[in-house]
């Protein structure tokens, strides 16, 4: 891992010093041992602040939206899941691929900092569930790669210098079980389902962290930002929250890149991915297997159609 960090720092240093890029998005060592938050640097001498480990969980790609109108070229470090976010932004024409330099990293598998028991002393933490279910541990798109990782559009096993550790920890071991939680909810009765989601929506604070961290939620002006038409407002009542939740889900339908950031950042602990995964599952069943943000050329399932799509409406 240390050699990988050295590689990252050296590359960022070189890119900034040569003027090839004007800024670099990466991670840095946080204030506690279990924190590796995002970092943006513009000076070559700041490259030593870069850090990477199993706490570098943030998907940085949505931060690129701050540069969507900029002519400056920006470099960004990505893990496998993050790289799909870049693809999302490029497909949505939010980011000009010429203006972004994607640096692919091998992923050791991220751990669950919620399981920290002693914030003073380092101890082992379990692998995040989303990493156990990971199907794209390697970047699907990158201009440069570090740590012997390889770019691959296909689902697969971890490649690169952290691969051994990742596989040992169980990255991707539960890829096939990723719809299990969805199935559990589907098995409930209508009223039980409704009660379950009401409870979740009741908790929603409408802070919009899920929206703002999401690389698929990239509208310049969100409909939830305007109450002028009287459709939406900030009232955090359960049904208004449900209105937000379902709308959000439909807006990212077929575009969600499965990075799980929305669920991670939710301060109320709403299992948002259980909604996103439901839609992914249905898309797979109805329109053929599709993983958003893996192939630049492939149109999203709601952006095209087939004449012989399932016909249930008659």
């Amino acid at each position: 891992m240390n050699s990988l960090i050295k590689e990252m720092q050296a590359l960022a240093q070189e890119l900034l010093a040569s003027g090839e890029v004007k800024g670099v998005f990466g991670w840095t060592k946080g204030s506690r041992w279990y924190l590796t938050p995002p970092l943006f640097i513009q000076k070559a001498e700041d490259a030593i602040k870069l850090h990477y480990d199993e706490f570098a969980i943030n998907n940085l790609t949505s931060l690129l939206l701050d540069y969507r109108n900029s002519d400056d070229k920006i470099a960004i470090f990505v893990k496998g899941c993050d790289s799909r976010g870049i693809l999302r932004l490029i497909q949505d024409k939010q980011v000009n691929p010429e203006k972004v330099l994607v640096i692919g990293l091998p992923c050791p598998g991220m751990v669950d900092k919620e399981a920290v028991k002693d914030q003073r002393h380092v101890h082992d933490l379990p692998l995040l569930r989303k990493c156990q279910e990971c199907r794209y541990p390697n970047p699907v798109l990158a201009d440069r790669t570090l740590g012997d990782v390889q770019v691959t559009k296909e689902p697969g096993v971890p490649i690169g210098i952290t691969a051994e550790r990742a596989i040992q920890k169980g990255v991707g071991s539960k890829g096939k079980e990723r719809y299990q939680e969805v199935k559990e909810i589907e098995a409930l009765s209508a009223d039980e389902k409704y009660a379950f989601w009401q409870k979740q929506h009741e908790k929603c604070l409408r802070c919009y962290a899920c929206r703002n961290i999401c690389p698929a939620c990239n509208c310049r002006e969100c409909i939830f930002e305007s109450d002028k038409k009287g459709w939406v407002n900030k009232a955090a009542t359960t049904t208004d929250n449900a209105f937000f939740g379902i709308t959000r889900a439909m807006h990212v339908a077929g575009r969600c890149v499965d990075c799980g950031e929305c669920e991670r950042v939710c301060p109320a602990g709403i299992p948002i991915m259980k909604i996103n995964r439901k839609i992914m599952q249905d898309i797979d069943e109805l329109f053929g297997t599709y993983d958003a943000g893996t192939d630049l050329e492939e149109a999203g399932p709601l952006n095209h159609f087939k004449l012989d799509d399932p016909e249930e409406f008659l």
């Binding site: 969805v182 389902k193 209105f243 709308t247 439901k278 898309i283 109805l286």
Partner: protein, 149 residues
């Protein structure tokens, strides 16, 4: 949709409120024809004319439920007949997903339906509305996703 509001309903005389989003080119014309032909159908459906079934965005459906609809119908031209060539193909994909998502959220799929009804299919319009009305009547009033405050 405001007329849907605030009705004190009792079990006996309760009539469902169905909001129908009807494509201007097919279903709306079909409904018009049903009227012209003096066909009998339950007056429970309130039609909202949209340029194309593809114009009905998911929030329209949610808003209708919020405002007290007991069921929502999205209806447009048959696949292949869209005035704008392909609008209803997108509708089909979108609402196949939406229907499943709403079911996942605990909404009975009979409360949200999509149908293809052409301008000449007045009897079909009558049948769909009648059938839906009866189904919803059997289900009872929808209390889910209703707006608070």
């Amino acid at each position: 949709m405001s007329t849907v509001e605030d009705k004190k309903q009792t079990a006996q005389d309760w009539e469902p409120n169905i909001v129908g989003f009807a494509c201007n080119w097919c279903t709306y014309a079909g409904a018009d024809l049903a009227g012209l032909s003096r066909m009998q159908y339950p007056p429970n459906v309130k039609l909202i004319r949209v340029p194309c079934s593809g114009r009905t965005n998911p929030q329209f459906v949610l808003r209708a439920f919020q405002k007290g609809a007991d069921a929502v119908l999205v209806a447009g031209c048959h696949p292949g007949d869209c005035h704008y060539s392909t609008g209803n193909y997108f509708t089909r994909r979108r609402y196949l997903l939406m229907q499943r998502l709403l079911e996942y959220m605990g909404i009975d799929p009979r409360r949200f339906q999509a149908r293809w009804i052409s301008g000449s299919e007045a009897p079909k319009f009558r049948d769909v509305v009648t059938q839906m009305s009866e189904e919803v009547k059997a289900l009872g009033p929808n209390k889910k996703l209703r707006e608070e405050l």
